[in-house]
Symmetry: C2
Subunit: 327 residues, 2 copies
C-alpha cells in the first residue's frame, strides 16, 4: 500500500499543513526566509503530521487545533534534523545538500533555533496548554536522547536496552507526540489517547530500527543520504550490536571504534564496507526486521481499543508500510 | 547604587527563580544533568528575571505565574549564550570555560536545545497562552537578529540603523519580553504593559551599546571574557562604526575585515589592538556612551505613566546602573 492511500482520509488537510509550513517567515530577514524555504521544501514523508491528523480524525476533527499541531511537529522535526546534520557534519539528506553544507554550521544552529521558536508558536496556536506542554516535553526528551547518543559515541559497551531507550527518546517520542496530540486535540477519552500514544511509540521504535537496518542495506541513491553514517558517527545500532555479538573475533566495528581517532577516511570506509558485507552474508538484517516487526505488531495491538473503520485501517497499514519502506 | 539594592523589593523571590533554575533536570541522563548544572551555576547578573518580577510587582504580584516566567526567560537567555559560544568558538564567558570549550560543539548545540525545551515548559507553567506566545515570538526575534549578524559578518557596508535593528532583535527583545511579561502576568492595564515593554526595549538597547563599548575599553579579567571578540567575529558595533567614519584612511578595522580570510592570529590581534588604541585616544567611547544614555533616558521616560514608589525608583536606578556597569 502506498503512503498516499494510507493518508487518503486526511490528504486534503495535509495540504493545509503544507500551507502552514510554507507560511513560516521571519520578521524581515531575507537571509533567514531563504533558509527556511529551502529547509521546508525538502519533501519529507510527512508521516508525523499525518499521524496527528489521522489520530484526531477518530474524534472531533477540529482542524483549528490539529493543523497547527501537525505543522508544529513537522517544524520541530525539521529543526532537529538541521541540528543533527550540523553535529554530524552531514552534507546530504533527502538527496539534497543540507543546510549545514550550503550555509555552514553557524547558520544551521540559528535556523534550527528559529524553527524551534516558530514550532512553539504553532503549538501555541492550538490554544491548548496541554498540547504545548506535550510539545515542550517531547523536545526535551529528544534532546536528551541525542545527548546520550553523543556521549555514547564509539563506546562498545552498550546494551540493547540502552539502544531501545535511546531510539525511544530520539525518535519514538515524536511519533508518540504526533498521535497523542491528535487524540488530545480531538477530545478522545483519556484511555484512547493513551492507546494512541502507545501506538505512536511502538511505531516509532519500528521506524527507527528499520532506519538503522537501511543504513547498512540500502544505497545512497535510494536513501538520499550516505550509507554507513551511523558507524562513521560512532553510533551503535541494533544491526551493529548483532555484528559485535555474533562475530566477536576480528570484528570491523570493534576495530573502527577502538581506533577511530587515528584512522584515515579510507580505513573508516573499509571497516564500514566490511560491516555491510557481514550484514549481507548473515541473518542479521532478517533478525533486526523481526525485532522491528515485533514493535510494529505491538503498535497494531494498541489500535484494538480504537473505533474500527477506515482510519484504524490506515493506521494498521502504516505498521506494514514502515517495515517495508526502502527510504 | 548596587544591583542588590535595586533588586531589594524582589530579592527573596529571585531566590525562588534560582530554585526553579536549579530544579531543571533531564529524565535520567546524568551527562545532561551535569551540563545543565554547570551552565546554570555560572552566576550571571539575573537582570532579566529581576525585570519580570519588578514589573509584576507594580500590580497583582502573582508569583505562580511570575516565577516560572522569570525562570523561563533566564533559561532562554542561557541557551542562546551556549549556542552563541558554539558559533563563535568562544572558550571563556563569565570567567569560566564555556560549555563549548568543556564538552565541544555537539553537546553545546544539544544542551541549548534541551534548555529551550525546558524554558518553553516553564513558560507553559505560567498557564498563560499570551505569555507563551510572547516567549516563542521573542525566541524567533532573537534568532533572526543572530542570523542577520552572522550574514553581515565582515561586511563594512552597514548603517547605524542596521546596527540598532540588529541589537534590538538580539538583545532588546529579551529585555522587552522580561518587562512586558511581568506586566501581563501581573494584570497591568494594556497601556502600562506597553510602557513596560518600551522601557525594557530601550533599556536593552542601552545595555547592548554599553556591552559593545566594554568590548573595547574593558579587560578580560573584569569582563570575564576576551576583549575585542566582536571585531574578531567580524561584528560591526557602534564604536567600530565610529572608527570607520572618523578614520577613513589607514583604518585597522577596514584592513581586518577586508583581509580576514588570510590573516594570522597575530595580525588579527594587532588590528584589534590598533582599534582599541584609537578608542582610547579619541572621543568615540564618550560619544557611544552618549548614545547609550539617550536610550537609557528614553527608558526612564517610559516609566512616567507607571505607579510611583519604590519599584519605579528601582527601575529608574537600573537605567543608570546599566550605563555605569563595568562588566
Amino acid at each position: 500500500m502506498s503512503l498516499r492511500s494510507i493518508y487518503q482520509a486526511v490528504e486534503a488537510d495535509l495540504g493545509g499543513v503544507e500551507e502552514l509550513l510554507l507560511s513560516v517567515r521571519s520578521e524581515g530577514s531575507a537571509w533567514l526566509d531563504e533558509m527556511v524555504a529551502y529547509s521546508l521544501q525538502s519533501g519529507g514523508k510527512r508521516i508525523r503530521p499525518a499521524l496527528t491528523l489521522l489520530a484526531g480524525k477518530f474524534y472531533q476533527y477540529r482542524l483549528e487545533g490539529l493543523l497547527p499541531m501537525a505543522a508544529a511537529i513537522e517544524l520541530m522535526h525539521t529543526a532537529t534534523l538541521i541540528h543533527d546534520d550540523a553535529i554530524d557534519k552531514s552534507a546530504v539528506r533527502r538527496a539534497k545538500s543540507t543546510v549545514y553544507c550550503v550555509w555552514g554550521e553557524a547558520k544551521a544552529i540559528l535556523l534550527g533555533d528559529f524553527l524551534f521558536a516558530r514550532a512553539g508558536g504553532m503549538a501555541t496556536d492550538t490554544r491548548s496548554l496541554a498540547a504545548v506542554r506535550l510539545f515542550t516535553e517531547t523536545l526535551a526528551t529528544i534532546s536528551t536522547g541525542e545527548v546520550n547518543q553523543s556521549f555514547s559515541a564509539f563506546n562498545l559497551e552498550q546494551t540493547r536496552t540502552q539502544y531501545i531507550e535511546r531510539i525511544a527518546r530520539k525518535t519514538a517520542s515524536l511519533f508518540a507526540l504526533s498521535t497523542e496530540s491528535g487524540g488530545l486535540l480531538g477530545g478522545a477519552p483519556p484511555a484512547q489517547t493513551r492507546a494512541l500514544r502507545d501506538y505512536g511509540y511502538n511505531l516509532g521504535i519500528a521506524f527507527q530500527i528499520t532506519d538503522d537496518i537501511l543504513d547498512f542495506t540500502s544505497n545512497e541513491r535510494q536513501l538520499g543520504k550516505p550509507i554507513g553514517s551511523d558507524l562513521m558517527q560512532g553510533t551503535l545500532t541494533l544491526p551493529s550490536m548483532m555484528i559485535l555479538e555474533r562475530y566477536p573475533e576480528d570484528n570491523p566495528i570493534k576495530r573502527l571504534f577502538e581506533n577511530h581517532a587515528h584512522l584515515s577516511e579510507l580505513e573508516v570506509q573499509s571497516y564500514v564496507k566490511q560491516a555491510r558485507e557481514i550484514i549481507n552474508r548473515s541473518q542479521i538484517a532478517r533478525d533486526c526486521r523481526k525485532a522491528a516487526s515485533e514493535y510494529s505488531r505491538n503498535a497494531c495491538n494498541c489500535l484494538k481499543t480504537l473505533p474500527p473503520g477506515a482510519i484504524r485501517g490506515a493506521l494498521e497499514e502504516l505498521c506494514s508500510f514502515i517495515l517495508a519502506r526502502r527510504k
